[in-house]
Subunit: 264 residues, 6 copies
């Protein structure tokens, strides 16, 4: 091989800062989800103490991850870990409501166990609510690594910065993209292939709202694309499949395409 090329790669490796181990992050995520939902867990705990030890062992993984990012954290790893733990009950309550909403909304769902253990939309949302929590605490990189784990597993991409209301229902979900400054109200339902994205993407807009706002009780059918930071979809609106929306839509609207022409 070209020697200087090889040398350069070696120097790159020497210069590279430490990153948290992807395997450790995956293990910790799995551990939190197993703690919150027995459906994700293959283990039965014979005592409450054993359950606590399992929790603590997993918790040390978060600490290890935060520690490897410590130079870039806004607060100490200790404080962030504590704040995350304090938020966990609220995250759990929110996810319980999400599971119930999916169950009551999908005729194919048999029970909550099936929703938690087999619905990719629920999994993606569970990861998002955890990642969003860490994002709000100012943790860099980790939230994005978490959301990519869910993305790879489900095909659903939710930027950890996105704000999502209660009882959010994703049906099927593959291909969904939800951008960093999206805001979604309560009781929203969304199908596969929906994009909530940015209209234009100059780098200096990093701190402005670039993605749409979805109000309460909106339904967005498969393949709809809604773009732009000023775009607001009003309460109780229904957005038809495969639509392309770049301007705000008032409350109670129904937006759809005409049925296509047929040629026989």
């Amino acid at each position: 091989m070209d020697e200087s090329f090889f040398k350069d790669r070696y120097l790159d490796h020497q210069r590279a800062g430490e990153l948290p181990s992807p395997q450790l992050i995956e293990d910790w995520l799995e551990g939190v989800l197993q703690f919150l939902f027995p459906e994700f867990s293959a283990v039965k705990f014979s005592t409450e103490r054993a359950f606590l030890l399992q929790y603590q062992t997993n918790d040390l993984k978060l600490f290890t991850i935060l520690d490897s990012l410590s130079s870039r954290l806004p607060k100490s790893a200790v404080d962030i870990r504590a704040a995350f733990e304090a938020d966990l009950p609220a995250v759990y309550d929110s996810l319980s409501e999400d599971a119930e909403a999916i169950l009551s909304g999908d005729p194919a769902a048999r029970d909550r166990t099936e929703v938690v253990s087999t619905y990719p939309g629920f999994y993606a949302l569970a990861v998002h609510r955890l990642a969003h929590c860490l994002c709000r605490l100012g943790v860099p990189l980790l939230p994005r690594m978490l959301s990519e784990i869910a993305h790879q597993k489900t095909g659903i991409e939710i930027h950890p910065g996105a704000k999502i209301g209660r009882r959010f229902c994703i049906d099927h979900g593959t291909g969904i993209v939800i951008g960093e400054t999206v805001e979604i109200g309560d009781d929203v339902k969304m199908y596969q292939g929906v994009t909530l994205g940015a209209l234009s993407v100059s780098k200096d807009m990093a701190r402005t709202k670039r993605h749409p706002t979805i109000r309460d009780r909106v339904v967005i059918y498969a393949g709809a694309t809604i773009l732009g930071g000023d775009t607001v979809i009003g309460e109780d609106s229904i957005i038809g499949g495969n639509t392309w929306i770049v301007k705000s839509i008032g409350p109670n609207s129904r937006v759809y395409y005409r049925v296509p022409e047929k040629k026989q």
Copy 2:
């Protein structure tokens, strides 16, 4: 952590019913696919007996899985296992035809080995035909867990309840959603991002036909969305990409959108 929150999680874990291990299910599925198609198998068997033992060892995994669901099975695990085994040759024949259909339909496919070992559409269909078989035998949860394995790997989501005819061809496939009460005829071809879904979703419709019927020899291009239990796409029709269809289409139809306007 909040003590009552922790206590509640522990009680949840104590109350949770037994579920079949996801790892065991994945292992079994891999084993069946390796049995049916040498392309999935890294092992060479030196004797027929060794091959049989491999089969039986894998078969015991299915038994273990069924056994952990036994309280919810319509028949004994023994009977269901036997019925599944009896169906296996027909599943194999069907998948052989599927592979041939993909090979003869895709100019990029070099040979059957390439189709079986690298086409996500074939993989998703192979898992579906096995899951559908278990679904018809009344096995709960397992068929959905199988279809989610394929969904995670391929981005193709086929509900195990869907009825799919012979020589079904999926090209690319990411984003395809095929609902629980879909019926698909023979020699149908379908591209990525196609949805065969429900129009409305009130929970009391769980036992009604909510998803469309696709007749023989229909071709559905990328991104088409076809919705509704009464919607029938007639024989030999071609559905254009990104179309949105909520009513029946007669045989031999061609449905497409006009070419979009250009602005220079």
Copy 3:
């Protein structure tokens, strides 16, 4: 089980040619990516020699893979391996430019480390540029197995035959399909769900150009479908989301759908 069915499966296994082990291929790919980008690597190397040994150990994996395909290679495994190594610096330079382009184009991207370690579009492109290199060297099956690894992980499917110019930017990406005879110029940007596909698919077209050509600086928004071997999208054009394009578009064009009708 039906005896003749079982016997036939056994004979299938006996007849099956040797295939490179999927696990070995995955390990090698991971090794190359770790060599090129420290962001993919959890290991620190204390000496340049250790780094070299790591490289060589991984390189032997490629040799093993090529060797198992040797009867189907156009040149010796030794020659192909050498040619691949000679191409690696150019592949690296190209990927470095890709990472920079993503970073400067996406307001949500914080730094190059985040792009390399969490952007599925970058990962898919990295795998593609390696697979394309092997494809040009005439290696069968392996390039497709590589592209499927990336497809499974990212939902982005790029056929290893596709020719892609410099500074290619994929945003989000789930659902993207790029066909075998696609040609893409420099500085092209593409969003999720875009298809660059074939219009018709008769098997005898295997050696003809069946997929579109995209010229420099084109932007293609989410869900656009561009089909056909004669279809050329001219320089500096913008293709709107969810469009369906089967004819050539001149340079500097903007193609979009009208905003859909609203019904209140």
Copy 4:
């Protein structure tokens, strides 16, 4: 490397007959021991059916092992497997007595659980009783591979051909060697470093009794060496530590060395 040397090694590998996998043998052995003694098992079974499935899965491993040796078996693998299973209850009863004998004989032993889970003498005996059973059924190689597993783990080497009576007590045990044609009565106790070996070793003696006979209730202290096929240690004798015995000893004997000289 020397080319002809390398070529010869390759030809050796090609010529080599199939051997049962050491890993499979270890797994099966662990499985049988876990079946017989919950102390060896980390898993709790929620139903009797699950326990049975575990047993059957392990049993298939034995079948696979026997099958790979089939050309050298005196009966079919099916018959040998069945005969082994039929012997298992007797082996278990015998081992239960052994554990009780160790417990009642060693003041340091707290309970049967401690004996089964931590006494190397019990482990070596458990493996021996299984290996001896297979040895009597005419299985080649496997019994020796089993006894070597125990030898490596405990430093106790018992040839699978040795006949050992009931309630055999090994204390400590490291360095014990028990030869192929040894016969040991009931209620014998033996300490570490004891050899029951052959006096002379010409190859044509393979089918003659070359190792000693130990009658009921004999105690043999650490480091004693007893050699020869005609050597019989009579009932109720005590053999002192570090003794060297090559002739028969009558019943009720006590054999010891004088206390060594002291030099001050």
Copy 5:
């Protein structure tokens, strides 16, 4: 299989109390040894915090182990864990002296690194000093499981109850047996195959001193057997190889066998 036999085994498994997982115990032991001696550790820690997290994660394993034994502990798992941690510095100091003593006593030893990483005598002693510490704290079963790990690895068996002075030197060591109530002074050196055992073993002697006392600066050569609770080997004595000692020996003694007879 015999049905009642199978049923009995199942009931045995149901009745069996919980035991700490052997794997967890092995992991914890490895973790403590790695913490104390970098020679046992393959990992470099980039920060002190990372090192602390590693320690704490391992510490939780001890807690989990103690917890599974909680019904049989004399104090709470919390208290025992704390007491063990408080003892750790003293254990470390003691082991440091042991390593130095081995290094200065064995001409074949090159440096402390070689002693720590390759001397089985040091390994066995390291495990013993940890196990003895837990033994004194009243922990059941675990100390014996630890000493068996060392026994399996080194062939050296030291009962966790044995009291061993400072700068203890084991050379080679295979076959050494040191009983429960042994007391060993400072600067003692011992070769392979030495037994410090009990003379007689009636079960009611469990709480009496059954094993010998070795005073300061005694050297015991290979294969010596010293038995009995009243047997004391006086200061500065040398015990020759293969001797058999059942009575006390005064200080400064040299005990040996005559050189054996030769027959030409």
Copy 6:
């Protein structure tokens, strides 16, 4: 925990030099043994090239190990590796003779396959001949780590410095200790528990001959202890079990203990 104790451990870890990974060493050793003897290998190679690649991959491990020791090597890692490879055929020939000698000497051995795959004496010797080769090339630490792997597995401890002639036969072997400056002639046979050790051990004797010399065709029975650098056992002598020898013995001698006294 005591803070300064913890801090000191951390500093120890920081100061510790790099050591070759024990896992890598074990993997390499297994690879060499599998290369030399198909009995150790579970894999069949379909082509000579595949076999070569396997060899080369393993060889890189040796290189990696040597590299991590490079500051302490007398020659470059490249040269040492080449010298080792050049010695390999002679090592193989020697081991082939050893296997034949064991087979023809032990009535219990059925065939060469059984000897290679189940005889601990053969395994220990195989590891020794490799370790001795590296020892002569001046490699530090690694030879001792190899001999400890064999010691742990077999209970046989052979210092890598020991010089051992052709057709060396170890029967059983547990407890054998062979010191650093031992010299053993051709056709020697040795049983378990034999020590060839040093008489006295002052540290300044590191470079002198401290261990005995055993001439051709000597047989040494179980438990014999032969000590001292000036001690020579003459040709064709037989050393009885449990003997203690500290002076030279002429050729053709027979050394034994009287049969012990009996007390009835």
